[in-house]
Assembly symmetry: C2
Homo-oligomer: 251 residues x 2
């Protein structure tokens, strides 16, 4: 089944050809995105297409200098967007009560389901994709960069283009470690050892530990990649952006 194959064959691509994406292909993958489920059919999201090389260069800096942002022909920034819906309501004498956290989260869900549909559609067209986690770190700067009004918060970004590499597929945890039946079965220390065994025994893991001069893979995450200090810093910034964009009003 082609669809299942597309999903199972997913690889993140970090090196892109400069070849442009045809407008028809881009339109089709966005259209496929917009068929994703959306709360109450409100479609409370927007997508910003960045193609202009100067703009991508500036975006590249905002995304911590990840070169693929400059290299790939299309960058798609997916935003939680109640601005359009609120304007519609006000223009129709309806009072929109969407200036709160639940509405932000609803819109974020909408935007993320669209993003994943776009990712799948892009891969079905032979394109490569990469999600940029830096979107939530830099949400405030992206608000300024794109000129996002109240009611709009960027939640994720997709780099899209033709792959200039063919990496091996990366590992995933065994499904039994991710699935629970009827209730949540908490993990024993034996479960944890078993679930992470394959990941920890990969040659890549050994070389990462060596390179970083740490004891194990978990420490690479906590000491190098996603530290408490950075997480607390970017948590504060992200909550501030959600507040600033008008999603934290209370009674």
């Amino acid at each position: 089944m082609e669809t299942i194959k597309t999903l199972l064959n997913h690889k993140t691509i970090r090196n892109y050809k400069s070849d442009p994406i045809g407008q028809e292909v881009l339109d089709e993958i966005l259209e496929a995105g917009f068929r994703a489920s959306t709360t109450g059919n409100m479609q409370v999201y927007s997508v910003i297409v960045s193609k202009d090389p100067e703009k991508r260069k500036a975006l590249c800096e905002l995304h911590f200098g990840q070169k693929m942002v400059e290299q790939a022909p299309v960058i798609l920034t997916f935003c939680a967007d109640f601005n359009r819906f609120n304007k519609w309501c006000r223009q129709r004498d309806a009072d929109p009560g969407y200036d709160n956290f639940l509405s932000f989260f609803t819109a974020a869900i909408d935007a993320l389901l669209v993003a994943q549909n776009v990712a799948v559609a892009a891969e079905a067209h032979g394109l490569g994709i990469c999600y940029l986690g830096t979107t939530t770190y830099q949400a405030g700067k992206l608000v300024d960069f794109f000129g996002l009004p109240e009611g709009v918060v960027p939640v994720t970004t997709l780099v899209v283009g033709y792959p200039a590499e063919d990496p091996d597929q990366v590992d995933r945890l065994p499904a039994e470690g991710l699935v629970h039946h009827e209730t949540y079965r908490d993990y024993s220390s034996e479960d944890i050892d078993r679930i992470y065994r394959i990941k920890e025994s990969l040659p890549l893991t050994a070389s990462l530990i060596e390179e970083n001069q740490l004891e194990n893979l978990a420490q690479i995450f906590t000491v190098k990649r996603y530290t408490r200090k950075d997480n607390l810093h970017f948590s504060r910034l992200l909550l501030d952006v959600i507040h600033q964009q008008g999603f934290m009003n209370h009674d």
Copy 2:
């Protein structure tokens, strides 16, 4: 292209046959889900499979009595989950700094991308799906129901089963209303009228307005479906759950 067709043909299904889903099919659609992109390959999510009829009956009540939860053979609850990762870190002498809002949001993104892959894979298998927005409203009650430990928050639910209906595909806003080029072009009142014209002129819209004795479709959203009062109430509850599950620590 089959994949694009699958995406473009998406319909939400609200009536299901009681036919069970074969274990092989269920395993395959979950496996397809787990290939979705995940931040730093951390896979900070879990899926809870509900098949037991008694459990689904109870879940049905938690989801505001939506009958399909009882009717469909499989309910999948997707959770942001740092519990497993945190346990792994602690077992490896690594100090996990993932008790903050950024980590919650990262894990929520992970869970939502998996959910959408599962939805697409299910539809490729001829199954129907429906997302339950009530998941975020009832997150606290779902925490109790499933026995979710600290670090775990339910973010969305998929009803999955063989369709007992074949509804028409619902409308979507025109793509030009959802896409921005290079910068966010805010909407003029003419833009709003144009973007919502098709939706507002549907026969379904006319009958909804008649039925609800309101002036227009926007008021159906603000007065009936998603009211300010409900949104503020469920915002408070959701923020409390995020806090209670250990994702709101500060310096």
